[in-house]
Symmetry: D2
Subunit: 339 residues, 4 copies
């Protein structure tokens, strides 16, 4: 079989997926393929102005659509599916955000169930200026505005779950999914454990930017034009999603309560550090304790996500996954030069 | 009464405190006083080498000693006690860290009670090189070493609690205490609500550096020579400790589970932002959601601590506490020039 | 179409399901049908003696098999699927229990991730004496034995989840699933919200008895011969599973942290009480606060489950679901008399 | 020194304590002394009708007063202070309950911080009929009333904390305090670890009855006339408060999140069971898993409290604390016969 080196994936509304697992692949690619794709925003594009309240214009469970799944040729359970983000560009000149009834960190929810009526549902429209690299916040009451740095990323990236499960795309977990971490930006490589033949990668939920914790429940939600390189490492599938940037090794944990998300991410970072530096587990525990960063990713989704980061300056010559990230960075640079 | 502009406080072992509250002040100062003080490390200096196991050389409850309390003249319940960190310098050429039986984030504890025997208790000694700005990690098994940036800070800073409570110095809370955030470094101003006459500030638990989350339960623990400016704002006492650096407004929340620590810190940052920018509460919620940072402080103490940060670039001309931080920065610079 | 009043369902190993959702029904029944069925134990019958360690004789994800799904004719999303437990009888003369690596409440798990090695994996065999109504605990070390009351129940009962999700049978949630509450015994009616055409009821994980909280992670696991009456109420589907015994209204919440499971269950009991007694919500909150019971169901599964109970003596003449439970009790009694 | 066998303690308002620790004893008694005492309700008696809103008639921190402390002669750190409840009788013909702004399990609180305005503050008055053994709930909206069984108990019972801490009386912990479990009724013996000379027992917060979890934050609050026998066991102080009734061994855990309260209570019950039955720890873990009960005590206080219960029928001839409970039951019976 001959498969192209570059694939385009521009799903129509009826092609969008709302779960990880449970769907046939839209496309099958060889390891190393560049995929140019588009993603819709978490509202499916239905929130177009401040009067479009999500609870009125969106219909459960048709929220947080993802593009995919993409099957990777040769990917088998236990392998590592690598996704390198080459480019993430907002597809429209605006992004939207909102509160949503009983969703968010500072409100009663269906899980943190209380007797309060929901907070007011309110929509904010952000003007995105990709040339200037800004997204403009405009208060709904009063005339305050401020420009925030554009920092495009994907909230939702993952593979089909293990054990035959099919999970809503809003759920983050061991399969990835709605991790909602700002670390998932261009220049980053994400690693997922393959649970089913082909891995079945899907992604969506672009954010023009988001704060750590995504406290109100939504980021600056934006449709995206995104280019990724999809690759495969045989075996070595990590128990939980890992990321790698030029500067950091990054692990994730998605669970409740939030300390368990923290524990998972730190536990994986300790193990990864021990392996890469050939350290005893307690020595790695100590090193991570003094050198690590631990920002919140989201504290609003069906699981919460914490991220653990270790500066790669500590690694000396050690390289994760045999230097795959550096290799993909080079390939991405070549792609950007030659397109 | 005439009080000096600069006060020295070098407590002897018998002067050290192990609680917030419940003690008479060691010294009373006017608002604006420069205090040059020394603090012992969290082990009371008893861990001097890798064979000094904390559980053997330290005696509960004589852990985590603090220097103080310092009473501030005129401080009344509801006021804001401000502490500006001018300088924090390790007092010895080494720091220590350790695991401790049933303490830390990746081990069963007395609260997260389990049937596991404790992890191995192990001590690490770090060489501190203040000239080079490094602290050297040395693995206990194998010969791996690496230099980490020196980033001195205080884990424990607080005032007497409200309601007549006396709390162990290892507990973080609304009164401050063992917040264990790396943000408490030189150049930062911390704000605490005064609960009793004089406020009764105390501080200790210096760290040559710490990772976010302090996952193993201890940082690079170090005795410190520290200079602070202690100041007072009448009224406006924040419900939870706040910090301000040149770059960020920083709020804290200390609670369990960790999402409640997150909620407290974010709730306070939303309220503070609304107040400073004259925003509606939901508008501030939205702005913080997109622009805020949310690193873990500690996930090992009797309460966990999360920190919420907002870049001050968003503030325009608005200034917290009428620009007190800038004022204290200038005074600190003058002090450092003229000593 | 003519369907029988009584249906037998004795699935072969290859017919067993390991998820809720994602499978075609094994059988379709009319509302009101008596279903006589068999269930395998949570180990699939593979643990037959104390040397059969579950981690060796069981293969993930083939754990916690359920019998079903059973489609109910006319069941549509939003309806209430009622299951009345007529009889639950151990199918063998023994039950088994075990610790399992990194599973249970007093051990590090994959979610409450720690650096401890797993606790010892150990199996206990219980002799079940249905005539005497006992199950005999026999210590593995020493010769202590004691008879515990037999109290057969099903740990896992549920319907297909909403939103196209497919969930492992070990997960409790809004769809039911692995609630692991001892309340799910003969004489009880369970109510589930229908999420898909037919509802798709499945059940398994019989326990000869279990303690509240199922602290070690497993109960006295037993294959069962069980008779249920499956019924349907149009509309009124509860957000979370409810149970009704002769004495109590019972609500459930499954989430983490455990306080959220508590909140969900209490929130639903408050709402149910308000509706049945025509009370204002705060009045119902108050009444439940003083009269309610709140035992743990499980604190070991992928979500934790709490139960909230209100004595039906408070209800006066009010009856849940128009007295369906009483009606099913009578039908069950008739069935037992006439078989 | 000669001390009486029976002591009366009827503190005046100015004698009431609002903390555990930090106060001199009101009285010193010999082990075995009968103490007849009175306690005020958690509102200090200030809520006398449905228009007395607690947030208006009570002043922080003067909430939840306790009677004591009572020093026990010879009690030293590490000992076990035993309190047997002989009689708990409501001192008035009514009890009160209320919601309270930002307090309770189904509302945003200062810790579970959210942007919701508080729920309505509302007071309920219960008529107590000690002869009939009832307390009458009367809905505030509509005319629903129902009689609930009177089941008097103390929400707050404890000793001075360890480490020089002074804790608000509303906080439950290792020292006891505001456990808010309905198990603390007449006929029960409570065991506390002594942390300071004399132990310094105090109690208050009588409830005419409470539901498990105390979900709205308050029970049927009532001033009490209470008789206890205070006794001492040298050594063997339990890490967390234990209770014993005629039917059950009962352990407690107070922490957040609620699963940690559960873990503490179960961990202690496993250890206690192992000790009493001379079982291996995993065998005790297994036995408690199948035979234990695990009701919520409170899920509203500054720590949450879970209770773990083991039927004493399993104990054979083993007796906790050398049969002290049986002995105190006999002494109580003799006291009641002869007064």
């Amino acid at each position: 079989m001959s498969l192209p080196e570059t694939v385009r994936l521009t799903p129509q509304p009826q092609d969008l997926a709302y779960t990880f697992g449970g769907r046939a692949p839209l496309v099958t690619v060889r390891p190393g393929t560049v995929v140019e794709l588009t993603t819709e925003d978490c509202f499916g594009g239905a929130v177009r102005g401040v009067t479009d309240l999500p609870s009125q214009v969106c219909v459960f469970p048709y929220l947080n659509p993802v593009t995919g799944p993409i099957a990777v040729l040769g990917a088998e359970p236990g392998d590592t599916l690598a996704v390198h983000f080459v480019e993430i560009t907002p597809a429209r000149d605006h992004g939207v955000s909102s509160t949503f009834p009983h969703f968010g960190a500072l409100t009663a929810t269906h899980t943190t169930a209380m007797l309060h009526p929901p907070l007011e549902e309110r929509v904010w429209l952000y003007e995105l200026d990709t040339a200037a690299g800004t997204c403009r916040f405009r208060a709904r009451h009063g005339d305050f505005t401020v420009d925030l740095p554009l920092d495009p990323m994907h909230g939702t990236v993952g593979v089909a779950p293990a054990g035959g499960e099919v999970l809503a795309s809003i759920t983050p977990g061991a399969h990835g999914g709605n991790l909602d971490t700002p670390e998932m930006r261009a220049g980053t490589t994400a690693y997922f454990r393959v649970n089913v033949e082909g891995g079945l990668l899907a992604l969506g939920d672009g954010h023009a930017r988001q704060g750590e914790g995504e406290v109100c429940g939504t980021a600056v939600e934006a449709a995206m034009r995104t280019t990724v390189i999809v690759d495969l490492v045989k075996g070595r599938g990590p128990a939980w999603p890992r990321l790698e940037s030029d500067g950091h090794l990054i692990t994730t944990g998605s669970a409740r309560p939030l300390e368990d998300a923290f524990r998972i991410s730190q536990h994986d970072l300790v193990g990864w550090t021990a392996e890469l530096l050939d350290l005893d587990l307690l020595d790695a525990y100590q090193l991570v304790s003094q050198a690590g960063l631990a920002p919140a990713a989201n504290v609003c989704d069906t699981n919460y996500t914490m991220v653990a980061k270790l500066p790669k300056t500590l690694l000396g010559r050690a390289r994760a996954y045999s230097g795959l990230h550096d290799h993909l960075r080079e390939r991405a640079a070549a792609y950007l030069r030659h397109r």
